[in-house]
């Protein structure tokens, strides 16, 4: 991951409304939130409609083969997707930040061990890990989210470690050492705030990766059967695609909007 020179400052991830791209991302997420609110406001529109109707004023995203309104069907997927993405991102950030700080402040041996562990974790694709652990421990959405988060920690740890190394020689860190502060205290009070914005700009990549991985799981039939997710909706659309393109198009657009929205919000494009 290279940090390119045209990054609009270290706080870009923290103040998205100051960037145009951040405002676009915010708008996309607000659209999704509006759809979700619409679904909770008019639940009676969901079922019992004529089957396989093309998009119209009454059903903006059409209806599926069971007469379900697609707009509301998609709206019901907003919550679970955001939940999975959010939990995975927080898990990855927490583990990655702590591991990165330990690696940067520990001895050579500790650093080596943490980074080897990171390399090893990075060899296991997140989707595969989620499939394997899902088969053993069940397909619950929250568990899947945590598993996905765990598999993304090396990405955060590498960035945090590199940023922490760069901060180690700064005057404020040296003066903290001179004042006799403990390593743990310096790591959490002086280095962590400095590396946090960079770690946060990774969150868009992790959020997108986790949401897409969960959608893929649901698509192949290994998702949480208790919740409606976009992956499931798209898998269901597969059987009717040749007669009802809207069943395919809209849930996918929602998925892309969620990933791109969070990506823009956290300035992922410039962190890549």
């Amino acid at each position: 991951m290279l940090i390119t020179a045209n990054r609009p400052g270290p706080l870009a991830a923290l103040a998205p409304w100051r960037r145009r791209s951040g405002r676009v991302g915010l708008a996309m997420l607000l659209c999704l939130a509006a759809i979700a609110l619409y679904a909770t406001a008019f639940p009676e529109l969901h079922l019992g409609n004529p089957a396989l109707r093309a998009p119209s004023l009454r059903h903006p995203f059409g209806t599926d083969d069971l007469g379900r309104d697609m707009l509301i069907e998609i709206a019901r997927g907003v919550g679970p997707s955001m939940l999975v993405g959010g939990i995975a991102t927080l898990t990855a950030l927490a583990i990655g930040a702590i591991a990165g700080l330990i690696a940067a402040n520990g001895s050579m041996l500790v650093d080596d061990l943490v980074m080897r562990a990171a390399e090893l974790t990075a060899t296991i694709p997140p989707l595969l890990l989620a499939i394997v652990l899902g088969a053993l421990f069940g397909n619950g959405a929250v568990l899947t989210a945590i598993i996905l988060g765990v598999s993304f920690w090396p990405m955060v740890a590498r960035v945090v470690r590199a940023a922490a190394f760069a901060l180690r020689g700064e005057a404020f860190v040296l003066s903290a050492i001179a004042l006799g502060r403990s390593y743990t205290s310096i790591a959490f009070h002086h280095i962590l705030p400095g590396v946090l914005p960079i770690a946060l700009s990774m969150s868009g990549i992790i959020f997108g990766g986790a949401v897409l991985a969960e959608a893929t799981l649901a698509f192949v039939g290994l998702g949480d059967p208790a919740v409606t997710t976009w992956g499931q909706t798209i898998a269901h659309a597969g059987g009717f695609m040749h007669v009802a393109w809207w069943l395919w198009l809209f849930p996918g657009l929602a998925l892309v909007a969620a990933c791109v929205g969070v990506g823009l919000l956290t300035d992922t494009a410039h962190a890549q």
Partner: protein, 324 residues
């Protein structure tokens, strides 16, 4: 170089040992432990005892662990419950189909990504093309199964150019090469589209750094045009991160094939894993994961060796320049 190579080679068995140990622990941590995992929740006591005896689960845990590691070391990944066959054989049997879409997709995507990377790198001081990072973010957010269905909708259902799914046309008596290739076009396109964004962005970032180097000034002073200098001098140097990306993404490529194989109903490794997970065929799921991890580690190793050969500067720090 030899010392470095030996150290890296040693890391593979150590890595597999760690993953194998974690797998062993996880199986014993799973709800009900391995017996329920093997026999299902509703098995009778007789069946449970039978399974305990058959798989040595009545032995002490340490002995089970040593036996498990010994069988891993000798290449026995276990027997699939569903297929009643060796896990290794099953994986090797399905591997060619997956490779038949992964390899062409990798070649196609690196070719296109190189073109995009070269095109999007302006001369030092010229206006940057800002659209690409945005485009790459969108491309990266496209779910591959959704793209696959879109391609089917366009090229199979609307235009009738290509078949919808499968590996062969079921109406034909014997498999036919041209027909099989026609079936593979859309899966390869889907996978390639997914990889292009990441490769192009990596190459672009590397090229952006290279075009500011003094040797580019020399090349321009020599009379080369910027495009010529970029192609002949900067590209070679910018390829290293791309090779690292390739090695590092081998495991993810197999995972990416899972969704694509499902859409196109291809009998590859990805669908084998999904059906194993659906049927709680634990030895198969875990064995396939171990093999894919082994593949990913070998991919990383090959990429590291290739980078070492291509760039002698990396050897100074024992090949660690890229990790540090």
């Amino acid at each position: 170089m030899t010392r470095y190579l030996l150290r890296r080679l040693l890391q593979i068995p150590i890595g597999l040992w760690v993953i194998g140990t974690i797998v062993f622990v996880l199986i014993h941590l799973a709800p009900g432990g391995p017996v329920v995992a093997l026999s299902g929740e509703y098995a009778t006591d007789d069946i449970r005892h039978e399974i305990e005896r058959l798989y040595g689960l009545d032995r002490p845990l340490l002995e089970q662990y040593v036996t498990y590691l010994a069988s891993l070391a000798s290449g026995h990944l276990g027997t699939s419950y569903l297929h009643k066959a060796s896990v290794l054989d099953l994986v090797l049997e399905r591997l060619p189909v997956t490779l038949a879409i992964l390899v062409p997709a990798a070649i196609l995507s690196s070719f296109v990504a190189t073109l995009i990377g070269l095109w999007s790198t302006p001369q030092a001081g010229a206006r940057h093309r800002h659209g690409l990072p945005m485009l790459s973010l969108v491309a990266h957010s496209l779910p591959s199964f959704w793209v696959a269905q879109g391609l089917v909708l366009l090229f199979a259902f609307s235009l009738h150019w290509l078949p919808v799914q499968g590996l062969d046309d079921a109406r034909r008596a014997a498999p036919d090469l041209i027909d099989r290739l026609r079936h593979l076009v859309l899966p390869i396109m889907t996978l390639a589209l997914h990889q292009i964004a990441m490769s192009a962005m990596t190459l672009r970032a590397a090229l952006h750094a290279e075009v500011h180097r003094p040797y580019m000034t020399t090349a321009l002073a020599k009379g080369l045009t910027f495009a010529q200098a970029k192609y002949r001098h900067a590209l070679v140097n910018a390829l290293l991160p791309l090779i690292a990306l390739f090695g590092g993404r081998l495991g993810s490529a197999f995972a990416g094939a899972i969704a694509v194989e499902t859409v196109f109903a291809l009998p590859g490794l990805g669908r084998l894993i999904v059906s194993a997970a659906t049927n709680r065929d634990h030895p198969l799921v875990l064995g396939a994961m171990l093999l894919i991890c082994l593949g990913a580690m070998i991919g990383n190793l090959i990429a590291d060796i290739a980078m070492n050969r291509l760039d002698p500067r990396l050897q100074i720090e024992g090949g660690h320049a890229y990790h540090r």
